[in-house]
């Protein structure tokens, strides 16, 4: 019986070849990642000593990201940043200060090494899986990695999602993930690793796979992973790897807890209705619902592919009167690329409010919704209060659906505008 990718990576980092799902181990992460957050990093920094650790071992394995409370709105916010900068300097830990949302910056900076194992407190770090890296969010338990040379884990089972065919026009990776929730529910991968496979992978971009791995927690998964491959659409060269480890592929006879087949051609634009990320439904059932505001960004969506999809629809058009659209590229590198290729100009011309990368739009610290407002969002979550007032409604969708809805001020199928755009350029 063969092994899954997760089993192989955890076998390497625990020095226990041949281990299987269910085995318990102390795994030594290749990378320990965390964004600065009150109650998390400040507590780790403060308490390490009382757990017998004066400093972290191998500080270059660690990375801290300042992406929350950016830019500072209060002196207390900025003081936290000041303290974080000082700690990183003192301990020789790399700091990524306001250069983008950490989960994306980690990939850009070389932490998404195929075959590597990373831990964080936040589960959206699973998106390093798009590169063949195993990355797990451990909540407060990540502190173990700050004070000893490993994290205690039970090796999870894996669920294999085999992708076939290719998605139609106007269908984005976000729709594919929401389609999975719609068809298979909010817990089909509970406590398991969501492993994507199949020839359909090569019809998707690495950016799209970052979306589909980054949202894995909403299927109950502890993380997600994709076997590394060179055939991915629009594949960009991998950033320089910060460690040399063998890339891993699943064995053909690996044992999975379940296998799911998805025909990408069947996927249609989707929307996730409030108040739960489980409420995925085909968009066509909700077309026409009035919306007041939009947020294009987050660690899930807000990359070049998303900005390009929005620009293709918004080019030469204006937002619906009174509609407020916030566009927040996921990283400075993405923002610079979108500025250079004219995408940001198109979005600004259409009436979008474009801001530098920050996590704060996704959680309602900036661009806060008022009671009764309805927003379309490419953020991670639509639970009540996520973007401000607890009785504001959040509809999650792809960047393309968001852009089309911003034009009309109501939920709108993006394929209409894409067909027009194609006609215009023909």
């Amino acid at each position: 019986m063969g092994h899954t990718i997760a089993e192989k990576i955890l076998a390497r980092v625990s020095g226990r070849p041949g281990l299987r799902a269910g085995d318990e181990l102390l795994a030594r992460p290749d990378f320990v990642l965390a964004y600065e957050l009150r109650g998390y990093t400040d507590v780790y920094f403060r308490d390490m000593k009382s757990f017998g650790a004066d400093t972290v071992r191998d500080p270059k394995r660690f990375a801290i990201f300042i992406d929350h409370r950016v830019p500072s709105k209060t002196p207390e916010d900025e003081k936290l940043h000041v303290d974080t900068r000082a700690w990183c300097t003192e301990h020789g830990v790399p700091l990524f200060d306001r250069v983008g949302i950490g989960h994306q910056v980690a990939a850009e900076a070389g932490y998404a090494v195929p075959g590597s194992f990373s831990v964080h407190f936040d589960g959206h770090i699973s998106q390093l899986g798009a590169f063949g890296a195993l990355a797990m969010g451990l909540r407060s338990d990540v502190f173990e990695a700050f004070v000893r040379d490993g994290v205690s884990l039970r090796v999870p089972d894996s669920v294999l999602v085999r992708l076939h065919g290719r998605p139609g026009p106007g269908v984005m990776a976000r729709d594919i993930f929401h389609h999975l929730l719609y068809r298979h529910g909010s817990r089909f991968a509970a406590f398991r690793v969501l492993e994507y496979g199949g020839a359909g992978l090569d019809a998707l971009s690495v950016e799209g796979l970052q979306v589909m791995t980054g949202l894995a927690m909403f299927a109950g998964a502890v993380t997600a992973i994709v076997p590394p491959g060179s055939g991915r659409a629009g594949a960009q060269p991998l950033p320089p790897a910060l460690v040399q480890v063998p890339a891993m592929h699943p064995d053909p006879d690996a044992s999975y807890a379940a296998c799911i087949d998805v025909d990408l051609a069947e996927v249609v634009p989707m929307v996730v209705l409030p108040p739960s990320p489980a409420n995925a439904e085909p968009l066509e059932q909700h077309v026409g619902l009035p919306v007041d505001a939009g947020y294009l960004g987050s660690c899930a969506s807000g990359r070049l592919e998303d900005l390009h999809a929005a620009a293709a629809i918004l080019r030469g058009r204006k937002l619906a009167p009174g509609f407020s659209l916030h566009v927040v590229p996921t990283s400075q590198a993405i923002m610079a690329a979108a500025a250079a290729d004219g995408t940001l100009g198109v979005l600004i011309e259409a009436g979008a409010f474009v801001s530098s990368p920050s996590c704060d739009f996704c959680s309602g610290n900036i661009a806060t919704l008022a009671p009764g407002q309805k927003a379309v969002s490419t953020g991670t979550l639509n639970v009540p209060g996520r973007m401000g007032a607890t009785d504001a409604d959040i509809y999650l969708c792809s960047a393309a659906t968001l852009a089309a809805s911003a034009l009309e001020g109501r939920l709108c199928d993006p394929r209409r505008y894409l067909a027009q755009a194609a006609g215009e350029f023909a």
Binding site: L138, F143, S186, F191
Partner: protein, 175 residues
Amino acid sequence: MTLPAISGRVAYIFPDDYDVDQIVGVKNIKIQDVDQLAELALEKLGPAFRERVRPGDVLVAGANFGYGHPHFPAMKAMRKLGIRAVLAESFFPVYWRGEISNGFPQIACAGITVLARPGDAIEIDFAACRVRLPALGRELSFPPYARSELAMLEAGGFRAWLKQSIAAEQQEKHR
């Protein structure tokens, strides 16, 4: 290695995919005062819960309990009210990890919502991994915890466990 048995009553039954932040209300998620959180939970879950709940009780829930973006105040409130454990058909992993880390027993007990009713007496035997409903004469089993999970629960939470675990490691080295 095991936890002491729990003998209590079912204080409340939650539906599938329940977002625990609703217990105190999302608006109140930043409140730190546990007495205030406990009062909010009593208010939000209604008069039947307020009248029924007493120290030593447990909660029962459907599948995927804790789904969404779970914060800690809900279960801080429940512990303040004397709730000793949560039994659910299944859990959302993010919630599970957080509460096990807080040293709060969570029990993945398939079939529990079919049998249990509010007010029912319930006995949890951690050594045998069994749940008993004496009034019905029925028993259900649950899967054993991972070693580190059980050790965290025994120690009273992640941080206490980590301290013990590191101390044991040091002793081992010096032997």
